[in-house]
């Protein structure tokens, strides 16, 4: 046992700031990076798990993806008008759980097949939107100067045109096919993503580690891929999910107006047929309701997931 000095006075020196400690053994940088990523993903999942809405969204989404996958392998004869055998416009029954349309087709079959196309279009259009939007946003934010000005003019101009008006103009000129629809939705939705990505890029660009890397002589490419992009990625991910919701709603509107691919069935197209078949005035609530409820559920799912991601990515709105 040590005997301490009896009183503490100003003359007694305070110890050195840090003790000598042995250096840890060298670990390859790639291993560190992956370990960090795994840890980050675990932390992310732990945070995400706490959001009830986010979890509900995931479950709903999983269900519909399963339906869509099932639809790929299922028999599509139920969708052909010439092969329809059911009674026309009959309410749900044991034989036809979701009733039949005005041609006698089972609404259930139509809805299952619709899942495939609606999800496909939604996801593909989102891919285009995110690619263009992120690229524009990153370049504009990172480069600054006249490049930024030019790209932002372009983006603002894209934002100002009402999307449906542009979409139907393009679709009516370039024809009706799945490809055109996907392209058109992608081309009309990217501006809002570009804006968001640019804002995030600007804020990341100002951070000290970017300045430090630049001072150390890092090339632009290195800065963007190693520093800027990883920190903009979370915002991009959260936005992507919300864009899918918008893309699905967009496809629905375009199909409803008759611009869908005549050779495919999507939920929007079922609604178009229901509208042309005067489902509302004839009281065929099952024909109207089923595809609509599916759309609402899927869009809700993506929106809830997007909000959950937003809470994790944007610390300002997190609850204390």
């Amino acid at each position: 046992m040590q005997t301490p000095p009896l009183h503490v006075g100003a003359e007694t020196p305070i110890g050195p700031i840090e003790e000598e400690a042995p250096l840890p053994p060298a670990v390859p940088p790639r291993r560190i990076r992956w370990a960090r990523r795994r840890r980050a993903m675990r932390r992310f999942w732990k945070a995400y798990r706490q959001d009830a809405m986010g979890l509900a969204g995931l479950i709903i989404l999983a269900f519909f993806i399963a339906v869509a996958i099932f639809a790929i392998f299922a028999d599509t004869t139920g969708t052909e008008i010439t092969k329809a055998t059911g009674p026309r416009l009959s309410a749900p029954s044991l034989d036809y759980p979701l009733g039949t349309d005005d041609q006698g087709r089972s609404v259930l079959t139509l809805v299952i097949q619709g899942a495939k196309v609606s999800l496909l279009v939604g996801l593909s259009a989102t891919a285009i939107t995110m690619l263009i939007g992120s690229a524009v946003g990153l370049v504009a934010g990172f480069r600054g100067g006249w490049v930024d000005q030019l790209l932002m003019r372009f983006t603002d101009w894209g934002l100002v045109i009402p999307w449906l008006v542009l979409a139907i103009s393009l679709a009516s000129i370039f024809g009706q096919s799945l490809f055109v629809i996907i392209l058109v939705i992608g081309l009309t939705t990217w501006p809002s993503t570009a804006r968001l990505v640019r804002a995030q890029t600007l804020s990341v660009k100002e951070r000290p580690y970017v300045e430090r890397a630049r001072a150390l002589g890092a090339s632009d490419w290195h800065l963007v891929t190693r520093h800027v992009l990883p920190n903009v990625m979370p915002v991009i991910m959260a936005n992507t999910v919300l864009i899918v919701a918008i893309a699905i709603l967009s496809e629905t509107a375009l199909s409803f107006l008759g611009l869908g691919d005549p050779f495919s069935i999507s939920w929007g197209q079922i609604l178009e047929q229901a509208s042309n078949g005067a489902a509302a005035t004839l009281g065929a609530w099952w024909w109207l309701g089923a595809p609509g409820v599916c759309i609402v559920l899927v869009v809700l799912a993506f929106t809830m997931i997007g909000f959950a991601l937003d809470e994790i990515v944007n610390p300002k709105i997190r609850q204390r």
Binding site: M1, Q2, P4, P5, L6, H7, V8, G9, A10, T12, P13, I14, G15, P16, I17, E18, E19, Q50, Q319, R320
Partner: protein
């Protein structure tokens, strides 16, 4: 005559990750016309105390003890009484006036709001008073028309001070009023606070992590660590002859030009302030203490008398060990 008296204050934040004890038994007294400095690192609980005095903590926070302001216990007040006492009994000058002022309303308007909330004054009468308040803090009265973003950091802080004076409170709580400012501006604002305090005979609770600032301004000084007060006493003697190892480290970290003691390089203190949810056993400072010895991890030191109005919570004090249960180690 004590203007503000805090007794056995315990404050616990309720968070998603569990309860966080931010303040663990604090006693404070401020007399009329006295300046009490409260020092400590970030997270030690000093800003929490400032917010607690006017009950500005988040709704679910657990607050126990007594906060006696002008003879009434703030914690027992009805909401209506509390609102009346806010700003008239005690007012706050916040840290970082950058964000403490509403960006879309004029500055004069915001000061006048303090006046009209508590007095039956017309718009014109209030503005007259605002003008004189601004003059008191060294700003031209035409600044009434300005928006916060049109003022510099130092000017905004002066506005905050003018606002704090608006209802002639018994005590002003200054929570890190100079931390976010440039050194030159810091000096100006400090000088202003000192002269106002003397002129108006205000009681002032000055909270900061910068000990050297406190020495200039305070009559008495208290040092906080991990939610408790670890040392207090007359300002000059606490600074020059610290009894607690933490105070010594804090004092050594802020060199005073011209003072012999600082001819050596200022040294810092290793380690980090403790996580409030994982406070070390015994004396909370023991993991970082350069003078730690055997009883420290197991015995919680209370504030022992160190003579001449001084107290320190350290087992190294003469006679401290003798008072421990089971005698000395």
């Amino acid at each position: 005559m004590s203007v503000l008296s805090i007794r056995d204050l315990h404050i616990t934040y309720r968070t998603q990750g569990g309860d966080v004890p931010a303040v663990r038994g604090v006693d404070l007294d401020i007399d009329r016309g006295e300046v009490l400095g409260l020092a400590g690192e970030s997270g030690c609980g000093k800003s929490t105390i400032a917010a607690a005095i006017l009950r500005l903590l988040p709704p679910k926070t657990g607050v126990e003890g007594e906060i006696i302001l002008d003879g009434e216990d703030v914690l027992e007040m009805t909401p209506k009484r509390l609102r009346a006492v806010r700003w008239t009994g005690a007012s706050i000058v916040f840290q970082g006036a950058m964000h403490a002022l509403n960006p879309v309303r004029r500055v004069g308007n915001q000061i006048a709001e303090a006046i009209t909330t508590h007095q039956q004054a017309s718009e014109r009468e209030a503005m007259v008073r605002v003008g004189s308040l601004l003059e008191q803090v060294g700003l031209p009265p035409r600044r009434i028309q300005d928006y916060p973003h049109e003022l510099s950091g130092g000017q905004k802080q002066r506005v905050m001070i003018a606002m704090a004076l608006a209802c002639s409170p018994s005590v002003i709580i200054a929570d890190e009023p100079t931390t976010a400012l440039d050194v030159m501006v810091q000096a100006q604002v400090l000088a202003l606070l000192k002269s106002l305090q003397r002129e108006l005979g205000l009681a002032l609770l000055f909270i900061t992590h910068d000990l050297s600032v406190l020495v200039e301004v305070s009559d008495r000084l208290a040092v906080m660590y991990a939610g408790k007060i670890v040392e207090d006493g007359p300002a000059r003697s606490v600074f020059e002859d610290p009894k607690h190892p933490y105070t010594r480290a804090l004092a050594a970290a802020f060199p005073e030009i011209g003072n012999e003691r600082f001819r050596r390089q200022p040294s810092g203190l290793g380690g980090d302030p403790p996580d409030p949810q994982a406070i070390p056993s015994g004396c909370p400072f023991h993991p970082r203490c350069p003078l730690v010895f055997e009883p420290c991890p197991t015995h919680v030191p209370r504030l022992f008398d160190a003579g001449a109005g001084r107290r320190a919570a350290c087992l190294l004090l003469e006679g401290a060990l003798a008072t421990l249960p089971g005698g000395e180690g």
